[in-house]
């Protein structure tokens, strides 16, 4: 039997004006188990707390009920007071007789009656409370950043800055991501490479940062503070430690007809390659699908010319396992595949390009050395049509339902740059809406219209038809002029929707994080926890969480880093003790609970049990990881046998409250 103390607060007149606190204290004093019942002016004041503390000591209380304001207000106050007096802080329950009683009722008699009932419910609950101890779990002082684009780089730099080791896993041979492919950035029009490459170098030189390029995460185990991650270092057939990045091999390689993915396939590279001049790490990689040596066994030129002896045709994939305290996902985005949009003739006409292709076409390091030429005949285009919202804002069956967010601004940028560099070129932009929220964004767009005379036309392009004379017929309606237009363009640029990288979905499964239907990672709370995933210890950085431009990405990357640092500075994390636990004797191992757990906190173990018939048998039972469980209780209802219960809100406690209220 518990020895319970009841403390009824007047809260000045806040409670006492409509609830007869003396009567409440008197009535609750008669409840079984209650050994002392007192009222006081301000229970949360220091003297009020002392009253509680003294009573705990004097009456050897095992449970405390405070009838006061909402537990959201002062539960912690009284828990601390109890702890200070030597009582487990989870032996305290609050009866909310202010917000949910005195403040909403006027009649003293009924309000007092209700307050007594609420108090009785709290007493009934305390009877079944058990002391809970918050567990602790150590934190591995190392972070993993998955993805080496600007988001990943920024996050890694910030974490390293705080003094923690951080690994970047990048699936491509170099870090840099999409930003490395971009020519200029809006709205300042400064050169992307000029601001990105120093960061790449900084990352490679930072003593706290390890870059695993050409690598993938293949397995994630564990939980917040204690992840064990397996990273596959894909064979690049070049010894990273020996290669000096001199590039001689790439020059001498006889196989030069490999589509260059860095330039969006607009030109070719050799079978052994360094993606671009500023690549980090600046190490060559052999593409086994094209390398003559790998395919036919005849060649070996690179091996011969490499003075460092870095070439290793027999290299195998390597797996490394590492412990991390925090994981930041920065897997980024890709433009969508435009195969199904026949009307834009993307697959039929080389002069219909995506915006990212245009970036390469205009880039000084691109296929044309920075001169804008039509891919088909390398002539200078005089009329360029931009089409917005290609695949964005569509019905699910037609494309992506969301706005890709960055297209309006980069299209304005492109239009402006073209008009700046080639004033003889007419530029048309067909838009549905121009969306420019952002600092200096609308000013930027207005400049394109007012200063650079870019023709913005409201209306979606209906049809793009390559003509035999090399021109491209663009048919669209001008909704404001109410006429249908035909433009004989030289080039068409499609603002393709962006989508999360394809590697994100399997990664989310490994991380047990949530994704939305578009495969963007879901944040723990859309407003209040935008850079955390719902799974503790997993943070989100950049476009993997939703379409973002560079400043936003960098801001989120730093925010994610800050959150990760906040976790890594702790030696251990205190777990919420109000977590689920499974009674193994009753667990059926049916996996229902696991299916509804949003955190992946439940795993199954095969355990040997002594069975009722005196034999032993191995049974599959659920096991809750208290460090991961957040205590929602979804599993407790999914469990038909009642094996799963929740500390602090157990089945019996809630039913005791129900009983007390309905008494």
């Amino acid at each position: 039997m518990q020895r319970i103390g009841v403390f009824v607060c007047h809260c000045g007149t806040n409670i006492a004006a409509t609830v007869d606190v003396k009567t409440v204290a008197e009535a609750l004093g008669h409840e079984p188990g209650v050994v002392i019942s007192q009222d006081y002016q301000y229970m949360c004041s220091e003297s009020g707390q002392n009253l509680v503390k003294n009573a705990i000591k004097e009456h050897n209380l095992t449970g405390v009920v405070v009838c006061s304001c909402s537990p959201r207000m002062h539960e912690n106050t009284f828990r601390k007071a109890a702890a200070a007096a030597g009582l487990n802080s989870y032996m305290v329950e609050i009866a909310n007789i202010r917000e949910q009683c005195s403040w909403i009722h006027k009649d003293i008699a009924t309000a007092t009656e209700k307050a007594i009932i609420l108090g009785k419910a709290a007493v009934a609950k305390v009877h079944l409370n058990a002391p809970l101890t918050a567990g602790e779990s150590p934190v591995a002082k190392r972070a993993l950043v998955i993805g080496g684009g600007i988001a990943g780089i920024q996050t890694a730099l910030d974490i390293a800055e705080a003094g923690f080791d951080v690994d970047i896993v990048e699936k491509n041979p170099t870090i840099g991501g999409k930003m490395a492919q971009i020519d200029k950035t809006f709205p300042t029009l400064d050169c992307a490479a000029c601001i990105l490459t120093p960061k790449m170098v900084e990352a490679s030189q930072n003593e706290h940062i390890t870059i695993h390029s050409f690598s993938e995460v293949t397995d994630v185990k564990g939980f917040v503070g204690n992840f064990t991650v397996t990273i596959k270092k894909k064979a690049r057939f070049v010894d990273e430690t020996k290669c000096t990045g001199c590039g001689l091999c790439t020059e001498k390689c006889p196989m030069k007809k490999v589509p260059n993915e860095f330039n969006m396939g607009l030109d070719n590279r050799s079978a052994i390659y360094i993606p671009f001049a500023q690549a980090v790490p600046k190490v060559a990689t052999i593409d086994p699908n094209y390398c003559m040596m790998m395919k036919t066994g005849k060649c070996g030129v690179c091996s011969k010319v490499c003075s460092a002896g870095a070439i290793d045709y027999k290299q195998q994939d390597k797996f490394i396992e590492q412990k991390y305290g925090a994981i930041v996902v920065a897997t980024g985005f890709n433009p969508i595949n435009l195969d199904k949009y026949d009307e834009f003739a993307y697959n039929q006409c080389p002069d219909v390009v995506t915006s990212l292709e245009l970036e390469r076409l205009m880039n000084a390091a691109g296929p044309n050395g920075g001169t804008l030429l039509r891919p088909s005949d390398k002539t200078h285009p005089h009329k360029i049509v931009f089409v917005q919202c290609v695949g964005s804002r569509c019905d699910d069956s037609k494309g992506k339902p969301y706005c890709s967010k960055i297209c309006c601004m980069y299209t304005a940028k492109h239009a402006m740059l073209i008009r700046e560099k080639y004033p003889d070129t007419e530029v048309y932009v067909f838009y549905i809406d121009v969306r420019t929220p952002g600092k200096n964004f609308d000013e930027f767009y207005r400049r394109a219209v007012e200063q650079y005379n870019v023709h913005y036309i409201k209306g979606m392009v209906g049809k793009v038809t390559p003509r035999s004379d090399g021109k491209i017929d663009v048919q669209a309606s001008d909704l404001l002029a109410n006429e249908q237009l035909h433009i004989d363009a030289d080039m068409v640029v499609l603002a393709a929707a962006i989508e999360p990288d394809k590697t994100a979905r399997p990664l989310a499964t490994m991380l047990t994080t949530q994704m939305d239907t578009n495969d963007f990672f879901t944040e723990a709370h859309p407003k209040l926890r935008p850079v955390e995933s719902a799974t503790a210890g997993i943070f989100l950085s950049g476009a993997c969480q939703g379409p973002k431009d560079i400043p936003e990405t960098v801001a989120q990357a730093s925010a994610a880093a800050a959150k990760a640092i906040g976790l890594l500075v702790k030696n251990s994390i205190t777990c919420n003790p109000c977590v689920a636990h499974s009674n193994e004797l009753m667990c059926n191992g049916c996996s229902s609970c696991e299916k509804v757990c949003p955190y992946g906190a439940i795993t199954y173990i095969d355990k040997e049990f002594r069975m009722p018939d005196r034999t032993t048998a191995v049974r599959r039972v659920a096991n809750v990881n208290p460090a991961v469980c957040q205590g929602c209780g979804a599993c407790t209802v999914a469990c038909p046998s009642g094996a799963m219960d929740l500390n602090g809100f157990s089945n019996s406690q809630i039913m005791a409250e129900v009983d007390a209220i309905c008494k």
Binding site: C587, N588, S592, K595, A638, N651, M655
Partner: protein, 323 residues
């Protein structure tokens, strides 16, 4: 059929493919058939039976049997295969230890339905073109075959075996069963009528737990209703509330997991149409969350362990049907 099953079972026992066979054993009367495990050809020859009265679903026995040493051969009717699959999905049986032979299913007869026709002293029964000819102590009696069918076979949902290692006889199809007709009829009654209907039915309950103990979805190590710590344990239907509570919660616990095998209604000594409760859940799940047949596969997410962001709100219950 019985012959073919015995022969195949003997073969599999002889070549060591299986160590045991779970099937059915002949009883005192034509109808009282008991599920049983056989270990030898002699036992099979002596007692193995598969006929019109062999209605029991043996899949639940595999929870225990499959954890024993050696391999067991299980003969499963189409409806039983759904239960079997569901048990695999919930990790309750060890698939590797079971060799499943799919056998043709019902419709099966129920002696209780014959007796309800006033026929007593039953010594034998055979089907003669839709008429059941019953040999009794008091002479020969006749009744329409259909009227003697077990309640679980009246609305057969499927003749298809969803899992098997081999088949004896041919596989059938999923049927258009009209199995929700009675549920719908009840839904169209007034609340008072529904209440009266269920009060009359559930008040017959004697809390023997036969429905629960036979149910292949009720395989809990310890049922909440048997567990004093659960707070809802109750042994006897002292008050009508406890009958309601038991049957509502039991149906809820198997919602999305119940394959509609009908065993609950088959075994109820008081003839309570318990399957209607399960069918109500199945019907609701189908109409609100998309067609779902428990046990059809071993991987899909059970409807109650799943959600869609645009699921209907609970208020749909208030908005539809008869008040």
């Amino acid at each position: 059929m019985q012959e073919a099953m015995i022969n195949r079972a003997k073969q599999l026992l002889a070549d060591g493919s299986v160590d045991r066979v779970i099937g059915w054993k002949r009883g005192e009367f034509v109808y009282d058939i008991t599920p049983a495990v056989f270990t030898s050809a002699e036992e099979l020859d002596a007692d193995f039976v598969y006929d019109d009265f062999t209605a029991a679903n043996v899949s639940k026995y595999l929870v225990k049997e499959s954890k024993k040493e050696g391999k067991i051969l299980a003969f499963l009717k189409p409806c039983d295969t759904y239960s079997f699959n569901q048990l695999i999905k919930e990790h309750r049986i060890v698939r590797e230890n079971i060799y499943v032979i799919g056998i043709p299913g019902g419709p099966k007869l129920d002696a209780e339905r014959i007796k309800a026709n006033g026929i007593t002293g039953i010594l034998g029964a055979k089907n003669d073109n839709g008429t059941l000819i019953i040999d009794t102590v008091y002479g020969e009696e006749k009744m329409p075959y259909y009227e003697a069918l077990s309640v679980k076979c009246l609305n057969c949902k499927s003749k298809k075996h969803v899992v098997y290692d081999e088949l004896i006889g041919e596989d059938g199809d999923i049927l258009d069963s009209n199995r929700f007709d009675m549920v719908e009829k009840l839904e169209n009654m007034t609340a008072q009528e529904r209440y009266d209907f269920w009060r009359e039915q559930l008040s017959k309950c004697i809390r023997c737990n036969a429905c629960r103990n036979v149910c292949p979805a009720c395989t809990c190590e310890k049922c909440v209703f048997d567990n004093p710590d659960s707070g809802v344990e109750n042994k006897a239907a002292t008050d009508s509330f406890e009958e309601n509570m038991f049957h509502i919660i039991r149906a809820f616990h198997v919602a999305g997991r119940c394959t509609d095998c009908g065993e609950c209604s088959r075994v109820c000594p008081q003839n309570i149409p318990l399957h209607l409760l399960n069918r109500k859940f199945i019907k609701d799940i189908n109409s609100l969350y998309g067609d779902y047949q428990a046990g059809e596969d071993t991987t899909s997410r059970a409807p109650l362990n799943d959600y869609k962001q645009d699921d209907c709100e609970a208020s749909i219950v208030h908005e539809r049907g008869v008040e």
